[in-house]
């Protein structure tokens, strides 16, 4: 199993090194291009996952009604919920499979960037283990810089629940990234920007709408959530 994983990791790492050589040895640019390429390859899974998540979110008011109606009867509640999911054609675990498929790719992407920019002799030795002979002349060097989280919760409800997380996550990731290679920070930023764009086209602005309205953006009223917060379906 570890041999398969090492082979997969080596493939990703050497793809990154190939881009590094191709793009004038600009490691920042190669990370951005590599991340975007991987996100494009996994796009079908991402869209499937986002659509499934959006459908589940749209059902929340009806599910809340059911919970109110069958408060004391858990069996009936479960039955009605399954019925609702079936009628809407939504699989409650629909977002799980695409996420599981993408997970090793994300880990591989993350690890390949981490391995490609060694910070100490042991990491450099680890890079030597994975790098293909034709790319041995390419060794990006590590530099550190500050990174801020660009991620955000998808809906106003989740935003309310995760308010404290929103404050903590940038702090946590910022702190972690300060200790890691700069390339990882760049990966975080790129993958989040691509993820945000993908999410916009599937779910609209979501919880960002009130924020944008607050700073003067022309955004439809919060009550128009069924219209996808400004994005025409």
């Amino acid at each position: 199993m570890s041999q398969i994983w090492n082979g997969f990791l080596g493939l990703m790492l050497n793809s990154l090194m190939f881009l590094y050589g191709l793009l004038g040895r600009n490691f920042a640019l190669s990370i951005v291009v590599f991340t975007v390429l991987v996100r494009v390859v996994t796009l079908p899974f991402t869209i499937q996952q986002l659509r499934s998540t959006k459908a589940s979110q749209d059902m929340q008011p009806k599910l809340a009604e059911l919970q109110k109606k069958y408060k004391g009867d858990k069996e009936k509640l479960a039955e009605e919920q399954m019925k609702l999911y079936k009628e809407a054609g939504v699989n409650p675990l629909g977002c799980l499979v695409p996420t599981l498929i993408q997970f090793p790719i994300w880990i591989g992407l993350y690890q390949s960037i981490m391995n490609a920019a060694p910070d100490n002799p042991l990491q450099l030795l680890n890079l030597a283990r994975h790098i293909y002979p034709q790319f041995t002349h390419l060794v990006p060097l590590n530099v550190r810089f500050l990174w801020l989280n660009l991620g955000r919760a998808a809906t106003p409800e989740q935003a309310a629940q995760n308010q404290s997380m929103e404050l903590m996550m940038p702090m946590m990731f910022g702190f972690i990234t300060l200790q890691l290679a700069s390339g990882l920070g760049l990966y975080f930023v790129t993958t989040n920007i691509v993820g945000m764009v993908q999410q916009y086209f599937v779910s609209g602005l979501g919880g960002l709408a009130p924020l944008l309205r607050g700073i003067g953006g022309k955004v439809p009223a919060a009550g128009s959530k069924d219209k996808g917060y400004g994005r025409k379906k």
Binding site: A128, R129, V139
Partner: protein, 358 residues
Amino acid sequence: MNAFKARIGLALVALVLLVALSGCMGTPAAPVWSSVDVVGSKLFTGSQTGRVYALDAATGSKTWQYPAAEEKKSLVGTSPAPVIVNDVLYIGALDSYVYALDANTGLQRWAFAAGGRIYAEATVVDGKLYAAAGDKVFALDASNGAQQWEFVANQPIWGRPAVSQGKVYVGSLNHKLYCLDAATGQTQWEHETGGAIAGGPVVAGGVVYVGSFDNKVYALDANDKSVRREFTTGHWVWASPLVVSDTLYVASLDKKLYAFDVTSGAPRGTFDAKGMIRATPTYADGLLYVATESGTLWVLDAATLQAKAPPFEAGKPILGSAVVANGLVYVSAYGDTVYALDAQTGAQRWNVALAKLK
């Protein structure tokens, strides 16, 4: 709008706290490997746990350790082998300090704040200590640690400085080999290779040899940097080249040891070590000791590159060079286990896990 301003304010406060917190905590320790040196009846070694040990070379029993067991202080990690000159032990550490310890007692003589992680052995010549830390090379008075000069390469220096004929030679990950004036630190010349230089150069017969991550070893005239010869391998050359008489030995991460004629550059043979070779091979009494990242120590005939004894398997990577003394060969494997083997047969005499020493 007020809520938005409040959130921006909170984010700024968080940012300031974050930077302050990061400054307090510093950079986390990087993994290292330990290397040994033997002088007389004592073996000296650093450790991944940031302590320096002196052991009885015959039995492996502990003589002293620094910092002492009851002290909470740690040097974070010590990768380079200790260097012992006139009963003083010099070692650099990941806490960015160069330490001078009494080799008999382990008591600290002095410590120098170098301001950068130290991965390379120091070199002591004529009462002067040359140490690479971060992207700098320092020249210190070996008796008291007083700084005499510093040189900045702008990229990390992980290889040991070589000193010869009043010149200091040092390579950097910025691909360059520098020749500095040993008295002033002024650059005499620099030569750019095709890859990072992570190992230390060596000087022999007026020629400086240095390995590079462009898979080559360069032989340059020590005075005018003219390229005498280039030797090519199949992967990065991290270990320092080894010159014995008229033979140049080059260890490569392609798992091979190469032998070349120093004068003509003609290949004399190769040995497949079946593991990446990071450590510089050691020569003693017609034998070569070659340690690999896969945890094997080979004993080879230096003339034929044929194995002279069954290989010793440590089970963990051996990344520091072997040391031969008292009829034994000593190596440290990753994880801080020191082995003493018969220098001729490779048979194990003793081993010590430093973490278990009391």
